[in-house]
Each structure stands twice: as structure tokens, then as C-alpha cells.
Amino acid sequence: MSKYSALALLRGALTGQKHWQPAWRDPEPKKSYDVVIIGGGGHGLSTAYYLAKHHGIRNIAVLEKGWIGGGNTGRNTTIVRSNYRQPALHNFFDFALKLWEGMSDELNFNVMFSTRGALFLGHSDSDMTQLAQRGDALTCDGIDAELLDREQVRRLVLNLDMSRDARFPIHGGLTQRRGGTARHDAVAWGYARAADALGVDVVQNCEVTGFEMAGGRVTGVETSRGRIGAGRTGICVAGNSGPVAGLAGIKLPIEAQTLQAFVTEPVKPMIDTVIMSQSLHCYISQSDKGGIVLGGDPDQFPSYAQRGLAPRIEKAAAEAIALVPALSRLRMVRCWSGTTDMSFDGSPIISALPVDNLYLNGGWCYGGFKATPGSGFAYAQLLATGTSHPLAAPFAFDRFARGATIDEAGVGPWPQLR
């Protein structure tokens, strides 16, 4: 892999741009690997990268049924933050946030990580109480959180409807200034390129269709490109965790739901932070290209359709326009939807499964993108050593049976209520 640099660009400019190479190889799958990772999204690729970099395992394959960047990695709203109330969650996501901060340098790939801040709006006294409690919980663990009053929010976001008769009155907010956004497919490309440079085989158009079991353990996978032997196998296919684990006869506490996002035509910079409202479950940010990116609720019933329903578009647009009236003048140019792994407590599962040599990283609900580097780091440790990273230990598969769920929303085992 040749290193990307200003000097290389300059040299290329003087030599007719002939220096460009593919960012990663297109290898034929080998007969067997020490570790096979199913799923070439951001999480699977970062897992392969950290396995190769920190655990000295180089004989790794990442099997992707489609193409790199074509799955959920490219189907989100690119928001990165770690401001959860539950310690298990905010400690894990803050570990990820620290990796985000150095990611472009580490991968030698510009993932356009932008710390523009992530602002939760408070629309009532009780919202503000909850935000203050969340801020306290974060600050106690050394994670940045800043409670803002109405005037401070007004100065931070110039376009909000701050009038007294606003549909959603703004009492204040809680901001995490280290939060922000990143270019989502660059994250997948960057990890694919860096993992490939360490010898990882990134195999595209290779769908896993079954597990090969012997003596109660997984010894390989059957794929659309033949049988591939595996020492350890890691499922990392959030959105499809249920069907893939089902190939090994395992039922998960996960239901698939569709989550939609939308983007408007590009305009000049008008929103320079990420605006979120948990009471409305609406999130708004402006991409580096200028489009206003909007997201809302999942569809709240099980679906793999990868196409959303009109009522969600209407609700998200109505909320966004009520918060930022100027958005009503923009045309919506595109909407997309992804399949989310809605777990039964709203938290991920990074864990060994009841079948030997088989591991799961999934159940990210609608919050997987921000976890990408931390998830890969922790999952790599689990796949390399068989024991959980301390920050990932609370996310074990058996937590439901133990009654140790991590339920940020406090709604119990009902993913449709999240």
C-alpha cells in the first residue's frame, strides 16, 4: 500500500497521475483462515484491522456478501457521540470516540471526522432535568457534557425557532463538543485499505450460506464461493444477525426494523452542529457537501424491506421544520433506509455464542455507526483471546438470562417501543 500524502499527490501531478492503485486487493478466498469475519461493514473491517494490528493474527478473511460500503455503513446519518446515561454505554462509546479522534491519522485515510458538537435539545422542565442528570452521569466519568440555557442554545444554533409560540419550545440543551460527524463510507474504505495492507483478505461478493460444525464447534463456513475453514468465526452483520445466527441454530434477542434517513438539496452552511431531540427523536445535521441530513424513528415493527414508509418521512420532516423553520424552503432529494438489529434492551451484543468458536457482534439498534472503531477494537480482543474486553464485558449474550440488561430507554424487552 502506498501512503497517501501531499507529497505523493504532488509527485502524481507531475507524472500524469499514474501512481494510483486499488485501495485494497480483490483476493480469491483461501481454503482456511485463523479468523473468519462475516460482514464487511465498518465493524467487521475495523475488527479485522485491530486483529491484525494488535493481536498479530494476519490470516484473516472478511467475507462481504455485497460490496464494501454498500450495507449499513453507508445507510446512516454519520453522527458520532458518546453521551449516553448508562455507564456501560457511555464508557464504551467514549472509548470509541477517542479512537475516532485519531482515526484519519491511524488509517492514513481522511474519514472527515468533524467535531462540530452534538446538541440535545430540551423542550420542557422535565427534559432539562433529564439532560442535567445525563450530563452529571457523564461528567462523573470524565466525559465532556455541557448544560446550556436557552440563551446559550440560541447563540449556538442560529436557525432554531426560539419564539414563544414555537411548536416545540426550547428550554435549553446538553451539548457534547467532542461529538460530531464523519464520512461514513470513508470509514469503511479506510479500514478496508488499512486491514488489506496488514494482509487481511477482504473478500467481496461472498455470501455465507451456512456453518460447518463438527463436535459442537464451528469449523468453517459455507459460502457462495465455496467452503472456507475457520479457526474462530465472528458474525458481524448487524441488520442480519438473526438469520445468520439462525444458520447455527441460535435464536437471538433481536428483531430487525427499518430505519430511514433523508437529505435535502445542498445549501450554504446553516447548521454547524448536530441537533438532536430525544423527546421527538429527530436529528439534524449538515453534511460537508451542504445537504441537510435528517433522521427519525425506526418503523417500529419488524422489517427487512430496506425501504421505508411515507409516514416516517412526514414525521421527521414535520419535526425538523418545526425546530428549524428555514428547512421548509428546501427540497428533499434523497431518502434511504437500513435494516437495524433492534436488541431487546437497546444495547449491543459483543459476545461468545453458545456454540464453540462462534462469536457475535450485533444488536446495535440505530446506534452502530458511532461505535465502529470501539466495536472493532473490543471484538478483535474477543476473537483473538476468547475473553471480553473489559468495556465490552457488560454486553454479553447471557445478560438477558441474568437480568443484567442495559436499558437506556427503560422500556423493557420491547424493541418496538424504543
Binding site: 438469520p243 435464536k251 433481536i254 419488524p302 424491506a305 414508509l309 431487546f344 420491547w414 418496538q416
Partner: protein
């Protein structure tokens, strides 16, 4: 949007209905704890047909049993419960 044919009210828009849970996740009082835990926390979650309980929340408020394809959104049957 789905068009759901309520056996009590006729065809209505899906926004009138609320998904409750899969039929196999209904927990009864007579269940041993292990079975109840399994019903609460395990799902086949198929990329295809499954039986689900829905409620016509903004209509007749009756419970319905809907057999639906989760990939195509095609509804095979809606029955009163």
C-alpha cells in the same frame, strides 16, 4: 405504507395499527420460568413470513393476528383474535 384489512373495520392505513409482538413470544402464567424467558427474549426473526400480534389502536382497538412477509411487506392474512 401497508394497507391492512381489519376483519372488523375493513381496509385501513397501517398508521392506525400498532405492532405488539410475535405470536410465539406471548408469555402465559402457566409457563415454567425457562420457557417464559425464552418466549420473552428469543426470536426467529426470519427474513420471510412470521405471525404477529397487532392492535387496531386508532380503529376498533381489537387485537389482530397478522401473517406478514418481513422482506416484501406482503400481508398473507389478517385474522380476528
Amino acid at each position: 405504507m401497508l394497507l391492512i384489512s381489519c376483519p372488523h373495520c375493513g381496509e385501513r392505513a397501517q398508521v392506525e395499527f400498532t405492532y405488539e409482538r410475535t405470536l410465539d413470544s406471548v408469555v402465559t402464567l402457566a409457563m415454567p420460568p425457562e420457557d417464559a424467558m425464552r418466549a420473552l427474549y428469543e426470536r426467529a426473526n426470519p427474513r420471510g413470513l412470521d405471525d404477529e400480534l397487532w392492535r387496531h389502536s386508532y380503529g376498533c382497538r381489537q387485537w389482530l393476528l397478522i401473517r406478514r412477509n418481513r422482506t416484501t411487506h406482503a400481508i398473507e392474512s389478517v385474522k380476528a383474535r
